[in-house]
Structure formats: C-alpha cells, structure tokens
C-alpha cells in the first residue's frame, strides 16, 4: 500500500500511481474484449451498443438480452458494490486498518459468490435465447470475453427474441374517452398505473374507463400478467393509480379513509390467522370494520347473521386451520361482508374448490349482488357459472405488455364482440402466441377503442 497524505498536494499523482500499480493488466485486456463482444450482442438484441462501455449497466443489459432482468438488477448492484469495495481497500492502509481490510475482503468474497451464481442464471438464459447447447455454459464461465466475441460477431449466432422497450409509447391507439360519473354505482377512469423498477418506468395498466351499475355481478377476464389484480387494487384504492374512481358518488382515492369500508376485497389466498377460532376471526373483523357507534349487541347480531349466511355456524368454535377449503373461502368472504360493503371484489374465490362448491359460492355472490351491491369476480373457470354474471371486463396485454381494456359490456355483447361462445375462448384469443393463445390482443384493444369512440 502507498500511504496517501491528504494534506499535501500530491494526492492526485499518488492516487494515479496507486491505481496504476494495482491494475491487473490481464483483466483490463479481458474487459476490453468483453466490451467488444457485448457491443455486438447488444446490437443483435436491439439494445444501444454503447451500454457495453458502462460498468454495471452492461451487466444489467446483458441480463436483459438473456431475458433475465431480475438477475441483471442483482448482478449490476453487486458489481457496483464490488467496485466500491475494491477502491476502498486500495485506499486503505493495511497496517492501520488490518481488521477492516480483512472484513472487506470477506465481504467481497461473499459478493463474488452471489455474482457467480447470478451470472450462471444469466448465462443459462442467454444460451436459451440463442438456442445453443448447454455445454456453452463452461465457455461462458471460463472465457466469457472470447465467448461474447463469438456470439456477438458471428452471424450464425442470433437471438430468438429481441429486448422489448417497455418505456416506449404503445402502438395501439389510446381511447382516452372517460366514463361519466354515476350517482349510484362504480365509475373507473384509469389513465395509467405505472411502476418504476430499477430506474425504469413500466406501464402496468393504461386507458381503462367504465361504469358499473349497482346490483351487477361482473366477471373480470384476462390472461396471466394482464393486470387483473393490479386493476382491482387500483379500483379499491389500496394501490393508487393515475385515476379517478367513484363509488356511489364518493371519491375512492380522495376520501379513502371513509370509502375503504365501502369496498370489500377478498384476496386469492385465505389470508387469515389459522390459530384463531372462526367466531373470534369474525368478531375481530366486525370490531375493526363496523363503525365504533355500533353497539356490542348489534355487532354480535351481525356476526351471527353473517355466520348464518355463509353457513359457518356449525364451525364457529373451530380453529381456522381446521376448516375445509370451501369453509375457509366462505370465512374469508364473510370477513369482508361483515361491514356490508357496496363494492365487493373477489380475486379467484373459487380456486381450489370443486365444481359444486364453486357454483354454490358463486350463487351466494349473486345473492349479494341482488341486494344492490356491485360484485367483481376474477375466475379462471368462468363458463360453469357464466349465467350468474351480468357484465364482463376483458383485460389484455398489448405489444408492450401493458394491461389494456379489450372489452367491457354484457356477456351477450362480449360473445358477439369476440365472436366466441365461451369465455375461456375469449381469453385464448387475446393471449400471446407463446402462451398458447391466438395473440389478437392488440386487434381487440384497437377494436374496442374504436367502438367506444363512436358510441
């Protein structure tokens, strides 16, 4: 180590000498080769080639070429940390900071292990994207500079998919026509719902506008990743979007603290404490959700009433863990129903239930809708209960994987719009081809946009 005296004007020359002395020239040459190789690979994948020049960014972009973006994020951060640690250790005087230098060395070793594991994942991805044999993994691990030049500049090596630019504008036309706010019922005017991941803005949902009448039971359809749950979370106000959501005239976002009790959201999983009894679970729900003015007697009465509606009376003293799948679903719904919400949202309430039980549950939901409430349901087996629904919302991923509204209307109109008899066929028509669908999402998004513009 060369000691550096910060009080003297020799800092810069000393630092340069220090860095120069500590440079591993073999590594420098290998890095230059790697940059050259990645330049070609990025070009093939549709990524600006100059990213290869930027440390950390090139790791991330390489992972994107391999379709392993999450791994790329980790690798990029780890590479940055390793660089910082290397510089700190070079600066430190070993004799003075012996323990600290050793600690940093151990930390570097741990990070190197993390990077190695994640790089293996990325290499597996890139081999898959380029459609090459697994044995290339050895080459990537031992000689990635040379391998990257072969893959980057040999015309025989071409990626099967290019990197999508998710931040660019969508090809399909934006409708932008807002639904008029109703005194009764639910109105959603969602402009966009975005998320920022690793300095990159992503559109999860865009341009969704609709009005749902009270007493309607609505089916929410869409392929996986179309943004169904994101949409429901945006509607109930828990994960706010750039939107205006009104329920019976009340602004769900603006008056969230008040409105949250008018929205009941039943999640996909049975999120309840398994070691509590059914009665206490419902009673605690009632205490939390009902206004403080409600008397103890009224609260108890409401709990008894809800238990009766959902058939939970016989198991009132049982632990939640001991209930059957159907009973757990009913309890989960009952917990939300106890506050008598105007909007009832259920994320796959029939998952894990057999046909008969699923039908029974849906019939119960129909009864709730018939009380003048709006019930929105996500289900992956809609056709066996389609007769119970009034409307259908179809969400689809456009070219940029943004959730868009492909249809909203009655079941009958949906069949006509998509030219399909069954709901499952509609889902197939909008799903991407690599997912086994027809890949017509953009077509229907565009069509629905035009229909509503002219309506």
């Amino acid at each position: 180590m060369i000691p550096i005296d910060l009080n003297e004007m020799v800092v810069l020359p000393s630092l340069l000498t220090l860095l120069f002395d500590s440079v591993d020239w073999v590594q420098v040459i290998m890095t230059i080769l790697l940059i050259f190789g990645l330049w070609g690979m990025f070009k093939k994948s549709g990524i600006p080639s100059w990213y290869a020049l930027i440390p950390c960014a090139r790791e991330y972009m390489f992972a994107r070429c391999a379709g392993r973006e999450p791994e790329g994020r980790v690798t990029s951060v780890v590479t940055f940390l390793l660089t910082v640690l290397d510089l700190v250790v070079i600066w430190m005087d070993y004799d003075t900071f012996e323990s600290l230098v050793l600690l940093f060395d151990i930390l570097s070793l741990s990070l190197e292990i993390v990077r190695f594991i994640y790089m293996i994942r990325i290499y597996a991805g890139i081999i898959n994207v380029y459609g090459r044999r697994r044995r290339w993994m050895v080459m990537w691990i031992l000689l990635r500079s040379v391998t990257s030049i072969i893959w980057g500049w040999n015309k025989k090596y071409q990626p099967s998919v290019k990197v999508e630019d998710l931040s660019s504008e969508s090809l399909t036309e934006m409708n932008g026509k807002e639904a008029s706010v109703m005194r009764e019922g639910l109105t959603v005017n969602l402009k966009e719902r975005t998320a920022t991941e690793f300095f990159q803005k992503k559109y999860l949902l865009r341009d969704i506008h609709m009005s749902i009448q009270p007493g309607h039971m609505v089916l929410l359809l869409g392929g996986s990743g179309a943004g169904k749950t994101t949409f429901l979370n945006a509607v109930n106000g828990y994960e706010k979007a750039k939107a205006k959501v009104t329920l019976n005239g009340g602004d769900v976002y603006g008056e969230y603290k008040k409105m949250m009790y008018q929205v009941g959201f039943v999640p996909q999983q049975e999120l309840m404490r398994g070691k509590d009894t059914v009665y206490h679970t419902l009673m605690d729900s009632a205490v939390m959700r009902l206004p403080a003015m409600v008397s103890r007697a009224d609260r108890k009465e409401r709990v008894e009433e809800v238990m009766k509606i959902f058939g939970l009376g016989p198991v009132r003293g049982n632990l939640v863990d001991k209930l059957s799948g159907g009973q757990k679903k009913r309890l989960s719904i009952a917990m939300e129903f106890i506050s008598n919400p105007s909007l009832f949202i259920l994320d796959e309430p029939d998952s894990g239930l057999d046909g008969v039980m699923a039908r029974e549950l849906m019939e119960q939901l129909r009864k709730i809708a018939d009380q003048g409430k709006i019930v929105i349901v996500i289900t992956h087996t809609p056709d066996r209960v389609i007769d119970l629904f009034d409307d259908v919302i179809v969400l689809a991923k456009d070219t940029h994987r943004t959730g868009r509204l492909a249809f909203f209307g009655s079941i009958k109109d949906a069949r006509q719009f998509f030219g399909k008899e069954k709901m499952e066929q509609i889902v197939l028509s909008i799903n991407r081809q690599e997912e086994g669908g027809e890949g017509r999402a953009d077509e229907f998004i565009q069509k629905y946009s035009e229909v509503t513009q002219h309506a």
Binding site: S99, E239, Y261, F265, L271, S285, R289
Partner: protein, 489 residues
C-alpha cells in the same frame, strides 16, 4: 361530477357516526388476539424453553457467580446471552409469518402503529414471564444471589428489571428484523448474524480491535454485559485466575541462583510491601539452647533438613589460602621443622601448586546436613549447652536490620546461593493465606473497569439504554411496515 358537498354540521355528524375504532382500541383488539393465539399457536413453548436454557446456564455459572471476578464476568455474559437469545426468538417470526394477513388487515383499516404497539405489549408480557422463570430457575439451581438491591430493596427485582429490559430490547430488535423480512426463511437466515454480531461485539469477553469499539456501542449485549457485571459488583470481588494457576503449579520445581547481595538488597528494600507488613511484628526469641534443639528435632522438617545436601567441595587453592592465612594455624606455622618453619613449607607448597596449575583442582565431597551435624557432634554440643539462655524480644524489622548490617554478610555479597524448591514450599514459606490474599487482590485491583462499578448512576444509565433501544427498534419496525402496501405481489 356529483355534488357531494355537505354542510359542516352534517359532515361532522356523519363522520362521527361512521368513524371506526381508533388506534387505542385497535391495540386492545390485537393484544387480545395475540394472547388468544399464544395458547393455540406454539408461542407458549418459549416459556419452558426459557426455563431449560436458564437451567443449563446455571450449571455453568452457579459455582462462582457473585463470588469471583471471573465468575461475575462469566455469569454476566451467560445471562446476557440468555436474555438476547430469549428476546430474539420470541419475535423473530411473529410479523413475517403473517405478513400477507397483515397486509389484508391494513387494507381493511388496521393502523400499523396499533399493530406494532400490540406486539410491544404482548412481547413485554412474554419477556416478563421469561425473566421471572429464568430467575426462579437460577434461584432453584442455587446461584448465590445477594439479597440487598441497589435501586430497589431486593436484588432479585433489580437484576430482574435489567434482564427484562435487555430481553425486551433484543425482542424489539428481532421484531424489526421480522418487520423487514418478507418471509420466515429470510428472518431465520438473518437471525444467526444478529446473534453472532451481538455476542462478538459485546466487548466483555473478546478483545476487540479499536475501530470496532464504536460498533459495540450499538449492541444490546455490550450494555447488558456491563449492567449485569456491575450488579454482580465485579469490581469488588477477588480475581482467582492467578491464584488458581499458582495452585496448579504447586508441585512444580523452581530454582535459581542468587547472590547474598541480592538477598540483602531484597531485605533492606524499604518499599517491599510484603516485608513492611511484618516489620513491626515482635518475635519472642527467648529460649535455652536445649529448648531450641528439642524444638528443632521434633519439627517435621528436621529429618528433611538432615537429608539436604551441602556442597562442601573446595579447590586446592582455597585449602592452601586457608592454611596460609588462618589465624587458628598461626602457632603451627611458626613451629620450626628441618631448619625451616611450617609456615615456610606451606608457602613453598602453595607457590609450587600455583606454578603447577593445581589451584583450581576441586577436592572434598558433597555432604548431607545430617552428616555435618554428626561430624560436629551437634547433639552432644546441644546437651552440653542445654541450659544456656539465648536471644530476647525483638521485631522482624530489627532482625532484618541485624542481618543486613552484618559486616561478615556484607563481605560475602558476591557469594552465590543456589535455591531449589517447589512453588508450594515457596508459597508456604511466605504464608499461603498471605500470598493468596496478595495475588487475588492485586490482580483484582488491576482488572477493575469503571463501567462495571456498582453504582445507581451506572445501572439506571444501562436501563435507559435498553429502553431507548426498544423504542428505536419498534419505531423502525413501524417505519418498515408502513411500506407494506409497496410489497410485490
């Protein structure tokens, strides 16, 4: 847009009618829920586990906790470990295992502050129960607790408060980890690092490099160890390691050569603490020769003394010098013989020997003390002078002065004395209790640490630190959970 504007009065009435339970009421609901689940869930297992841990630890510490410095430090470290272990394992999974449930309830109006506060109350009860159990077990396992406290009247209450607060601070740290971790697997992966960090940086047992002293200021274990060590009055208990080491070396032989001068310097050193203790002690040395002889013969060491070897070898040169200069032989030297004197013959012989190089030639042999005593007919001499009175009353100081001022001894300063004995005999010569007392107190005096002083200020300061840790960790847990709605699905 709909007109939703209302008059202030009606708005207030509506707000009042529709208001939900506030934070305070939610705390009560959730504390009740946690207590209920304590019974149904496996949380209750932490209580017998605490008792078992206390029993195991007490086996190690009960011998010397509160009795010796080493015992105090060992006990303080052990109790700190127990408290941190108990605290950490109480809450490490409580939030992360129900994170999704919490998210659902947060969506339905649960305040995060109420949720964390209910956990704080519940965990406080759990820590309190564990502390009481731990103390009960330690008492049963015969750990010798002092009876009088410093802050309260009872020592058990004092140390109980310290243990409770320490456990609670660790509990809140664990709660924070549980709030940050999204799954129980993550929390349990982080847990060992938290524990090792706490134990390594406690600072009492392991010597830490200077830079890490700052880090140890942020560990509960550092203050926990100090608090318990202070309460065990570490600074006023003896240190036994040095004495125990000495006892282990009891039969080891030690020896060395010192000069008479070194012995005289040692005796005349006025700064010598050991001798100064006895300088004024009076010795009643009034006795007859017969009494002294009888006492010596009847002593257990007499036979041993008889078997001691005395190196009586002399060189030819020493013999010749003695013959030439001894006043006893003066008459003999002046006697005439064969036209000359004995003195002349001796001198000529001495010169011849000097020329021949025989002066350094050793003659004589090694005798035992017994042989020497028999040679000089000591028994008969003692009998002959049996009634002769010897000595009188004098102090040790006077005796030492007599020895150190003796001109004959001063003349022999360069004469070397070879000692060969065992550690035990050496200690017995000085006095076992004296050496033990000296070693234990001297080593204890240099091992004192200001942070371990048993003072009210110290103890209250440590309690304050534990409380601060607990509050800070719980606030950070609230902060971490406030972002729960940002969790990825």
């Amino acid at each position: 847009m709909l007109n939703t504007v209302e008059t202030p009065a009606s708005s207030f009435r509506e707000h009042w009618r529709n208001r939900r339970r506030g934070r305070g009421a939610q705390v009560i609901i959730y504390t009740g829920k946690l207590l209920r689940m304590f019974v149904y869930q496996t949380d209750w297992k932490v209580l017998p586990m605490a008792a078992l841990i206390a029993a195991m630890v007490s086996m190690v510490i009960r011998k010397d906790f509160f009795l010796t410095m080493e015992g105090d430090l060992k006990g303080a470290f052990a109790l700190t470990c127990v408290c941190i272990w108990n605290g950490c394992f109480n809450s490490i999974q409580v939030i992360c295992r129900e994170r999704n449930v919490l998210k659902r309830e947060h969506r339905a109006g649960l305040h995060i502050t109420s949720y964390v506060m209910s956990h704080m109350l519940y965990q406080a009860l759990l820590c309190l129960a564990q502390t009481i159990l731990t103390l009960f077990v330690l008492e049963k396992m015969e750990v010798k607790f002092p009876s009088e406290g410093l802050i309260t009247r009872w020592f058990m209450v004092d140390i109980g408060i310290s243990m409770f607060l320490m456990s609670y601070a660790a509990d809140m740290l664990s709660l924070l980890v549980s709030a940050i971790a999204h799954t129980t697997t993550t929390a349990m992966t982080v847990m060992p690092f938290v524990l090792i960090f706490q134990l390594v940086f406690s600072g009492g047992i392991f010597n830490l490099p200077a830079w890490s002293q700052t880090v140890s200021r942020f560990t509960i274990s550092n203050y926990g160890l100090k608090c318990i060590a202070a309460q065990s009055d570490y600074n006023h208990t003896p240190m036994v390691t040095a004495w125990n080491t000495l006892v282990k070396l009891w039969d080891n032989e030690v020896g060395g050569t010192i000069s008479v001068g070194q012995v005289l310097d040692f005796l005349s050193d006025e700064q010598n603490a050991l001798l100064n203790q006895y300088r004024d002690t009076e010795i009643d040395a009034t006795a007859t020769v017969g009494q002294i002889w009888d006492a010596a013969k009847s002593s257990s060491g007499f036979q041993e003394l008889r078997e001691q070897k005395v190196d009586a070898t002399l060189t030819v040169g020493e013999i010749m010098d003695m013959l030439e200069s001894s006043s006893v032989l003066e008459k003999l030297r002046s006697q005439g013989i064969l036209g000359t004197s004995v003195g002349e013959i001796i001198h000529t012989l001495s010169e011849t020997i000097k020329d021949s190089g025989l002066r350094d030639y050793s003659v004589g042999r090694v005798f035992t003390v017994g042989e020497l005593l028999d040679t000089i007919h000591a028994e008969e001499l003692a009998e002959a002078f049996r009634d002769v009175q010897l000595g009188g009353k004098l102090t040790v100081g006077e005796l030492i002065r007599m020895i150190t001022e003796n001109k004959d001894l001063q003349a022999m300063r360069d004469r070397e004395i070879t000692l060969k004995t065992t550690v035990g005999k050496l200690v017995e010569t000085i006095g076992v209790d004296t050496v033990k007392d000296l070693v234990q107190n001297r080593t204890a005096a240099v091992s004192r640490v200001a942070a371990y002083d048993y003072t009210e200020d110290n103890i209250l300061y440590y309690w304050g630190v534990f409380g601060t840790f607990a509050v800070v960790f719980s606030l950070l847990a609230v902060l971490a959970l406030e972002f729960i709605d940002k969790d990825k699905r």
